[in-house]
């Protein structure tokens, strides 16, 4: 019997501060034991429990794509005790990771279809995973539209990649910030407003991730555009401990975010009274 409570050892290969105040950092981890890497099969949308022994664990979405072999990428916002400790890590340190946990974005269903990805702030992590995965298998999908908003230009994550994606012909990348700042030549305005303006084709599949307020105000826009309720997907966050449906912490209605989610369709969520 396997023991899902035991973290596997991983080495911090690379750390990248994503913004000037350094509250967001991206960690590339490699498997200390080759066999662990071979057994680690994940897909976009899944998450892991990141362990700092002596401090505890926290769940983070996997930001890398399964096509990026040998590494796992996490982007961590500094908010409390475990995330603080993660921010003290140095390249070369060993940490623990449990996973992959949870379900995933229904990318199998996206085959041959148009896809709209809507993200806000640092919640772009698993969206990056999905996007990189789809771009690696570009011919499998129709039009890909990405609407990504942040408070200020500093608060986008994966800035280098955004620049590369911006140049691609086979991807419609729309970046927007909340309020105008000098030297910003992209859009200005909140994600719901921009979504309305872009008015993506309602026959597309949509994945939306971001701060609760962004989701709350963007959903009605999508519904108004006539997106099918079972084609809108989002990823939920709740406090978690076990990650395998035992500890009872992440319950919403009769679902557990850690095993029934974190990815849910709007069709599912509208039936769960405490989901939003």
């Amino acid at each position: 019997m396997s023991n899902t409570y035991i973290p596997i050892p991983m080495k911090v290969e690379k750390i990248l501060a994503e913004n000037p105040d350094r509250s967001l950092r991206t960690y590339d981890l490699s498997f200390v034991n080759e066999a662990d890497g071979k057994n680690f099969h994940y897909v976009p949308g899944q998450f892991c429990e990141f362990s700092i022994l002596g401090k505890g664990e926290s769940p983070f979405g996997i930001a890398s794509s399964p096509t990026e072999e040998g590494i796992l990428k996490f982007t961590v916002s500094r908010t409390g005790s475990v995330t603080n400790e993660i921010h003290y890590l140095q390249e070369g340190d060993i940490v623990g990771v449990r996973g992959p946990l949870g379900n995933w974005y229904p990318f199998e269903k996206f085959k041959g279809k148009d896809v709209v990805i809507i993200g806000g702030g640092f919640a772009f992590t698993t969206l990056r995973s999905l996007l990189v995965f789809m771009l690696e298998n570009r011919e499998d999908y129709g039009k890909i539209t990405v609407i990504y908003g942040a408070r200020t230009p500093d608060f986008f994550i994966y800035k280098e990649e955004l620049q590369e994606w911006d140049k691609r012909e086979d991807l419609n990348l729309i970046l927007t910030i909340d309020k105008p700042v000098p030297e910003w030549d992209k859009l200005c305005g909140f994600v719901p407003v921009v979504t309305k303006e872009v008015s993506p084709d309602p026959n597309s599949w949509c994945v939306i991730c971001g701060p609760p307020a962004m989701i709350k105000f963007t959903l009605p826009v999508l519904l108004e555009l006539n997106f099918a309720h079972d084609k809108i997907y989002t990823s939920l966050e709740r406090r978690m401990k076990c990650g395998i449906g035992k500890c009872g912490r992440c319950g919403i209605g009769s679902k557990y975010v850690c095993i029934d989610g974190p990815v849910f369709s709007y069709e599912e969520l509208k039936k769960i009274p405490d989901a939003f």
Partner: protein
């Protein structure tokens, strides 16, 4: 069915102990609880429900998941014998089967190795469960509401009835039957002995308070999410969490590290959905920040969500929560209120 004289119980328990560590109702400080016993003399026979529920035998209040140090991670090695539990009442026997659903699988993804809880399974899977009939149910018992009863034999290995100066034992599972067959000193029970069980059962059932029909409970409570009934019910709850700790089916836990960076252990500890911190997130956001939401969560989990997932209510009617609540929040009253509630 065989019988063992009460004066010879020690010999039988000694026999069980050759193969198993025996846990039985005994005194722990001022409370009664299921603890490992050395000899049959420690067993308290005349209590119906122990103060502490037997879930701690298989799911201890605090349990080491692993230790970490210079040589990496080490999971605790279980060196003890398998566990036999003597003196479980049927409500408690069935509580273990409910916890087993949670810890042995994930309902949506059965048989997937990653969802099996090894700490539970290594204790529960090879245990021997003695399920003892309740001759004198308490005023707080309501197992019969759930279609079970004080003389229910299901879900156990060996059924035990306390009759005058003997214990009658009946093998229920294959494992139980095989075990009893090995104990050669037991006498065969007579027709008269068995007849006494029928009489005891009738008497025991007469102790039970009136039964409430809960066949509509699942559907009804599921419709009350937004109704003011929760404010009314939770009004007096002080969120002490006592009900969840004594509850034989509550299984929420916390995971926490004890020790320093280089050396220490990761443990799991019982936790309670009644506590505000249970769901509080780093941002300060709390999906169940107010008491009403937490009380609703507890009872929705018991009488709706668990049924949805596992086809059974997460409550055995053991009545422990009724006994300990400092403000007399009686779950039976709550169920009746829910059933009688007129949706506005």
């Amino acid at each position: 069915m065989v019988k063992i004289k009460k004066t010879r119980l020690k010999d039988f328990i000694d026999f069980v102990q050759q193969e198993y560590d025996v846990f039985a109702p005994t005194e722990v400080g001022k409370k009664t609880a299921f603890k490992k016993i050395d000899s049959a003399f420690e067993i308290i026979h005349d209590i119906v429900n122990t103060d502490r529920s037997p879930k701690e035998v298989f799911f201890p209040q605090s349990e080491v998941l692993f230790e970490y140090g210079k040589d990496g991670l080490k999971t605790p090695e279980r060196k003890e014998k398998p566990i036999a539990v003597w003196g479980l009442r049927h409500c408690d026997t069935s509580s273990l089967t409910m916890l087993n659903k949670v810890f042995s699988d994930a309902h949506q993804m059965p048989d997937k190795d990653m969802f099996k809880d090894p700490y539970w399974k290594e204790k529960y899977d090879n245990s021997l469960i003695f399920n003892q009939a309740c001759n004198t149910p308490l005023s707080t018992c309501f197992c019969h509401w759930f279609g079970r009863g004080p003389f229910d034999k299901t879900s156990s290995d060996i059924f035990v009835v306390d009759v005058d100066d003997v214990f009658l034992l009946e093998g229920i599972s294959e494992k139980g039957k095989a075990f009893l067959a090995k104990y050669e000193k037991a006498e065969q029970a007579t027709k008269e002995d068995e007849a006494k069980i029928t009489e005891l059962k009738r008497k025991a059932e007469s102790f039970l308070a009136e039964k409430t029909d809960i066949s509509e409970l699942f559907e009804k409570i599921g419709k009350l999410w937004d109704e003011p009934i929760w404010e009314e019910i939770s009004g007096k709850c002080v969120n002490c969490g006592a009900c969840t700790f004594v509850c034989s089916t509550c299984h929420c836990f916390d995971v926490s590290d004890e020790g320093k960076k280089g050396k220490g252990k990761r443990i799991r500890l019982w936790d309670s959905c009644m506590f505000q911190l249970f769901t509080k997130e780093a941002s300060g956001h709390n999906p169940r920040g107010i008491s009403t939401q937490r009380v609703r969560q507890r009872f929705m989990h018991k009488y709706n969500y668990f049924m949805d997932n596992y086809g059974v209510h997460l409550c055995t009617g053991c009545g422990r929560c009724v006994q300990v609540c400092p403000v007399n929040l009686d779950v039976r009253e709550l169920i009746k209120k829910v059933l009688d509630y007129k949706i506005s």
